[in-house]
């Protein structure tokens, strides 16, 4: 297996306060990795540090074999995106004034009807909304659009932050298997998710973060059978 994402000793924080104290991660092609942990454990910060939205203060991040530079955030994000990384951020970062269809066509770097069609195939609901302004869509529709837009760019590494946020359980039930299928085509996926059982059901491996450090890593199936690890990470029991 080839490593798509390698993170070693990652340190990052906000205005002088360190949030991540040395994180090690590895994600291979075709693999779904769940990133779990309580609120404030550093999941989102990890994703942001990987794509360059947060400038790291230490450690090394390699996407597809190339080190992510530590320069200006805007330049870094742009470069990693060009290399094939897609982040579905928690706030969705949709273009609310553009239509659903326009949002989707901006996903791929060139006009790529096929990629858009494939993404629509995963979320048939969106087909009826192509002419609607994204800002007028419901929260769930927006979330689907955000993921579909990322997929239309055929990413090699997909980072999904809280994909079930604001979605009906039935939609989550369709979404996570869809993410599994994306990985099966060779894309590496990192899934940050509050819905732990659902995430572990589709993930190959899982990392549990606690206070900015990796508390557990290993096989997703094994972790699902170890409620003690999860309880400690989420409820902070000693």
């Amino acid at each position: 297996m080839t490593a798509v994402l390698e993170v070693a000793g990652l340190r990052a924080g906000y205005s002088g306060v360190e949030v991540l104290h040395g994180i090690d991660l590895r994600v291979d092609a075709g693999e779904v990795v769940a990133l779990l942990g309580a609120n404030g454990a550093g999941k989102t910060t990890t994703l942001h540090a990987v794509c360059g939205l947060v400038t790291r203060t230490g450690g090394d991040v390699r996407v597809l074999g190339a080190t992510v530079p530590r320069g200006r955030a805007s330049a870094t994000v742009w470069r990693t995106a060009r290399r094939g990384l897609a982040l579905v951020s928690e706030d969705r970062a949709l273009f609310s004034q553009l239509t659903v269809g326009e949002n989707l066509t901006l996903g791929p770097r060139r006009r790529d009807r096929r990629a858009v069609e494939e993404a629509l195939g995963l979320f048939p609901v969106l087909r009826d909304l192509l002419g609607r302004r994204a800002g007028l869509c419901s929260g769930g529709e927006q979330q689907m659009l955000a993921i579909a837009r990322a997929l239309a760019g055929r990413p090699r590494l997909l980072l999904v932050d809280e994909c079930s946020l604001g979605l009906a359980p039935i939609v989550v039930g369709q979404l996570l298997p869809a993410i599994r299928r994306i990985a099966d085509t060779g894309t590496a996926v990192v899934l940050v998710e509050q819905h732990v059982p659902a995430a572990l059901a589709v993930a190959d491996r899982a990392y549990v973060l606690s206070r900015g450090a990796v508390a557990y890593d290993g096989d997703a199936g094994t972790l699902a059978a170890r409620p003690d690890v999860l309880e400690e990470a989420y409820l902070g029991r000693a």
Partner: protein, 627 residues
């Protein structure tokens, strides 16, 4: 509109850039020399001996593109994550700079140094019984072509789509691997070229080129763009044509109609009616609470709760009064100018800083109060404390009247609507022969309980401190009152409305009532400033209350810190003719030549360095020292 797309900036300097390029074009045609828009570079470079229309146009349009790029790289890119108001302030700085530079570079413009000629076809033909010159047809054709081309570019090309996307969410664009920077740069260049081209075309027909008037073309242009919702080129073009036609239509009608009372200035009706129509249309399109897909401007300037307002007011006010009684007459004048400017700035703090409603009508409110005072005192013989009080009451009524429709719009839309209202007030009211007109009015000096509170006096006693003391006391009282309001439940409701109107409404705040109280209090403060101004100025003329003045003072207040009382005081100190300019003039003996160009640049620089204003920077410094 293009630049709004490119960087979310409503660029007040847009027509100013076109104006400069138009000057440059006509001069290039005449002399073969191209005037450069940067201080420090040689004023002119020779291009070709006898340029044809084509070479001159190309040279000037290339310069326009470069100017657009420079604006983007030097000013608006560093400001892209700053609050929107910081960007407006920067564009005002550029506006002042270009305007003054044009005045300096093309000083002989009025004389026959070059001729304003149009290269559009001459002659005329008849259309629906009206004789229309051919060049109008050509102009209309060009305008429609440009609009269609631009519309197609933004609707159907990937470049256009990406531009629209990047203007809304830079993060989203970056995450998709779009390069917002390059897109913005290209759009700035394109927009600048279009601006230069259209001003050259228009001035070629009207034969009127003037640093200020031409730059102010930006207001109808922005209004047209607003009607197009800042995104529809078709609507904007139609609106642009409609405004132009309405203006000339109204002009013909007004000169014939005899029902219009004689005291209404006819030119004023012509110039202000389109604005009233626009305001009506904008308001009609607006909504009391923004819709779900409305763009929410994220960053807001800090609005700290004022501490010890009484102590601060006493100390500062005491210092000002001490200055008034001890310093020379020129200093007394400077202090009073600052105090009055601070009072008007305070009205912006309430409305713009606390409630987030950008209003450019504050000077117009002040003007209403000033003229009403003058009228009441001079003609109706109403004695001193009552005439200004009545005037303030009238102004509050006007302010609320402007505020009622304004409740339905917000952000830059409101800024432009209030600018329109200010122009309308100026054209219809200030220039009206019943109020005083261009000639100006003299206001009888105030007196209370036999004490002469007049400002002007003969000889060394001129600029009497008694009036200054009155002004200082009033400002101090106003500051303490505003500070208490800020800490009261009303103030909290204001801040809630500013942060998120929908959330505020959901939390049980009556948004309409909150905005209207703010409009009332704010126009009251502006009126107070206006009344003081009426007594301070030797003669009262409409020039004192132009929209440009409101823009400049808003910019200064922003730099001072729009959401704090300190900001108003800083703005007062910085105001033209105030204490700081007096200090500056006193020390360097400076060259007033470049004063506005330099202060325009200073505005831009400060907006980039301290997007939160000087008061914010001071507060951070203080916090660091405490730590």
């Amino acid at each position: 509109m293009l630049t709004y797309r490119a960087s979310g900036v409503v660029n007040f300097a847009h027509a100013a850039l076109g104006m400069f390029c138009a000057y440059a074009y006509y001069e290039l045609r005449a002399t073969g020399e191209l005037a450069l828009p940067l201080l420090g570079l040689p004023a002119r470079v020779p291009v070709v001996e006898r340029p044809t229309v084509f070479t001159a146009l190309v040279a000037v349009l290339v310069m326009a593109a470069v100017m657009g790029l420079l604006q983007h790289v030097l000013v608006f890119r560093p400001l892209r994550s700053a609050p929107p108001l910081a960007r407006v302030v920067a564009s005002l700085g550029i506006f002042l700079y270009l305007q003054d530079l044009a005045r300096l570079r093309f000083r002989k413009a009025g004389a026959a140094s070059f001729e304003i000629t149009s290269f559009l076809p001459r002659g005329s033909r008849e259309l629906f019984g009206v004789v229309v010159p051919n060049n109008r047809f050509a102009l209309a054709a060009i305008a429609i072509t440009i609009a269609v081309a631009a519309g197609a570019l933004y609707q159907w090309t990937r470049f256009g789509l990406a531009t629209r996307a990047a203007a809304e969410s830079e993060k989203g664009a970056l995450l998709l691997g779009l390069a917002p920077d390059r897109l913005a740069a290209a759009n700035w260049a394109l927009a600048s070229v279009l601006s230069a081209l259209s001003v050259i075309l228009i001035t070629g027909i009207t034969k009127q080129l003037d640093p200020i008037a031409t730059s102010l073309l930006v207001i109808p242009a922005l209004a047209a763009a607003l009607l197009g919702g800042l995104s529809s080129f078709t609507l904007a073009t139609v609106a642009g044509f409609a405004i132009g036609m309405a203006q000339s239509g109204v002009l013909t009608y007004v000169t014939r109609a005899d029902w219009i009372p004689g005291w209404l200035p006819r030119g004023g009706v012509e110039r202000s009616l389109p604005f009233l129509v626009i305001i009506a249309a904008i308001v009609w399109r607006g909504r009391t609470i923004p819709a779900r897909d409305a763009l929410v401007e994220q960053r807001l300037p800090e609005s700290p709760s004022p501490r010890h307002p009484l102590v601060a007011a006493t100390v500062l006010g005491g210092a000002a009064v001490a200055g008034l009684w001890t310093l020379s007459s020129q200093w007394r004048l400077a202090i009073v100018v600052s105090v009055i400017a601070a009072t008007i700035a305070l009205s912006s703090v309430v409305l713009t800083g606390y409630v987030g409603q950008i209003s450019l009508a504050q000077y117009a409110f002040a003007g209403v109060a000033a003229f009403t005072t003058a009228k009441l005192a001079a003609d109706a013989d109403i004695p001193f404390p009552w005439s200004p009080l009545l005037a303030i009451a009238v102004t509050v009524a006007v302010g609320v009247a402007v505020g009622v429709p304004a409740v339905r719009v917000r952000g830059m839309t409101l800024a432009i609507a209030t600018a329109g209202a200010a122009v309308a007030i100026q054209e219809l009211f200030f220039n009206s022969s019943a109020v005083g007109g261009i000639a100006g009015l003299e206001v009888p000096p105030p007196a209370l309980f036999g004490v002469d509170l007049g400002f002007a006096a003969v000889g060394a006693d001129n600029f009497r401190p008694a009036f200054g003391t009155l002004a200082v006391v009033l400002l101090a009282l106003a500051c303490v009152a505003v500070a208490n309001l800020r800490r009261s439940p009303t103030g909290l409701r204001w801040l809630a409305v500013r942060a998120n109107e929908r959330a505020a409404a959901a939390a049980g705040v009556n948004v309409t009532a909150a905005k209207l109280t703010a409009f009332a209090i704010s126009s009251g403060l502006a009126a107070l400033g206006g009344v003081l101004l009426a007594y301070q100025l030797p003669t009262l003329s409409p020039d004192a209350f132009l929209v440009v003045g409101a823009l400049a003072l808003l910019a200064l207040t922003y730099l001072g810190g729009i959401a704090s009382i300190t900001g108003a005081i800083v703005a007062g100190l910085l105001a033209a003719g105030g204490v700081v300019t007096k200090l500056g003039g006193g020390t360097s003996g400076s060259s007033p030549e470049y004063q506005f160009a330099v202060s325009g640049l200073a505005l831009v620089v400060v907006a980039i360095v301290w997007p939160d204003g000087v008061a914010g920077a001071l507060r951070r410094l203080a916090a660091r020292i405490r730590r």
